[in-house]
Assembly symmetry: C2
Homo-oligomer: 288 residues x 2
């Protein structure tokens, strides 16, 4: 796996951080993640924008500008041999002299093979449990997944695939994905507040707005149990139906009608956008 | 700085973790920290117990038993040249194949010079601001200091030394220290819930119980503003008076009477315990 650390391209084996780094000392770092399709990064501009926003919110500077990051990403893709690659960008609090205050940030970019959700995953759908929790600084893609990783044994015990967070009876997001619901009168609703604003979420909203009524607003846990469809969106999972929520079956355990149309249109968009970029027909910076 | 990683003693320069470690990927790790006085670890048994408890709560196994950890610590102290050393133990989620699930934990122990609070720090006291926040899994000494580090610019702006967390009007703790207050009728009170149970806190409670009435209970923010003394306790700060809370002066800006007695008695205890251990008069495992 090819990697880049601060100013050097290196092999993944050499992607090491000294333990004084503030990610290791205090869990202080931000990251972002996107993937390639047809050999080109999908919506890279949006992901890079979010990466800079996260870093800025966390008072961390990134030593490269967007053009430079983009060039490093393309070089990593060239050096890799993966058909579908995942690009992980990270900026940490740096090698801290006292193990508590930020120093010169470390910038790390890794290109690795990526496992996407399959058509079979889509057909099967997800079994989900709810859990009361609110991430700190939710608009920032920080590395703080303490609760998400800590909950893995609970997921296993409940034989569930994922956890849906809520706080004060309002649902927010999955640890690594956004949530959508389709009401019985065919409105598409997704939370607006206290979440990470996903790039796939943005694309789905953009597609859906052309088709049906869309609302971004608070959703109560109880309301979620009355809807006809629930699905999640994420970079590697694209669109996946939720077919079980706690002990309740959602939509006859099958992907819903609206979910299926959105999924199909998203795949078409992905194909179109990356194909145009691969042939050089479109400036990658003008991508949605 | 001498260090130990999994099975090997090494120099601090070689204390590196691959970026796939779950501390770097997801901020998933626990640690503990203690120091030496008169060349011997102070209350090591208590700190090691807490380290095992934190790891267990986080579903992380530690590859060495307490006797083995203790021997590694003594070897590190022998290899170091510091009069006062800090010992930092850490166990991480390990090199994760998918960057999200735990693997074989990495165990890391580092011996480094330690900067303790001085008599001048004690005389000066601390200026503190309150901030609404509750740590996740507060009984676990995890590396999640996202909020604490994120708040550094606010501390600077307010010209404050430290932050006192509260939640729903109940105070809990500092990011790295416990809080105590002395009421006008000379009771010593400290929070009992939603905190990390400090070893210095435990020692101070043990000393104070012999002297005055002691309570462990919830403290409202408003109540804290009515008291005659406030101080914090931590491993490196021992006992430090809080002389300003938000915009209010506490105890005429001077260390309080009870605070001073407790501080003096704590220093005596530290001297006694470590001196006995240094001369081999006391079994280190029977220490308070």
């Amino acid at each position: 796996m090819p990697a880049f650390l601060n100013d050097s391209f290196l092999h993944d084996d050499e992607a090491l951080l000294h333990v004084s780094d503030l990610s290791i000392q205090r869990g202080y770092a931000v990251f972002d993640f996107f993937r390639t399709t047809n050999g080109v990064p999908f919506c890279m501009n949006d992901y890079l924008d979010r990466f800079y926003r996260s870093a800025s919110e966390m008072h961390l500077s990134i030593s490269k500008n967007k053009q430079e990051l983009s060039e490093i990403v393309y070089e990593l893709i060239k050096r890799s041999t993966y058909t579908d690659a995942g690009i992980r960008l990270m900026v940490t609090g740096g090698y801290s002299a006292d193990g508590y205050h930020t120093a010169v940030p470390n910038l790390l970019i890794i290109c690795h093979p990526v496992k996407l959700a399959t058509q079979a995953d889509y057909e099967k759908g997800l079994s989900v449990i709810t859990y009361e929790y609110q991430r700190d600084l939710p608009q920032v893609k920080s590395i703080n997944y303490l609760m998400a990783v800590w909950l893995h044994p609970l997921l296993k015990e409940k034989q569930a695939d994922d956890i849906l967070y809520f706080k004060n009876n309002i649902i927010t997001e999955f640890p690594r994905a956004n949530v959508f619901m389709v009401t019985r009168d065919k409105k598409l609703i997704t939370p607006r507040r206290n979440i990470l604003h996903g790039i796939t979420r943005k694309n789905i909203l953009s597609i859906a707005t052309e088709m049906i009524e869309v609302e971004e607003r608070d959703i109560a846990v109880d309301e979620l149990l009355t809807v006809s469809e629930i699905f999640l969106t994420s970079t590697t999972k694209r669109v996946l139906p939720v077919t079980r929520l706690n002990d309740q079956i959602i939509g006859n355990s099958k992907p819903g009608e609206i979910t299926s149309v959105l999924y199909k249109k998203f795949l078409e968009m992905e194909e179109l956008v990356t194909k145009d970029q691969a042939t050089g027909a479109v400036n990658p910076y003008s991508m949605p």
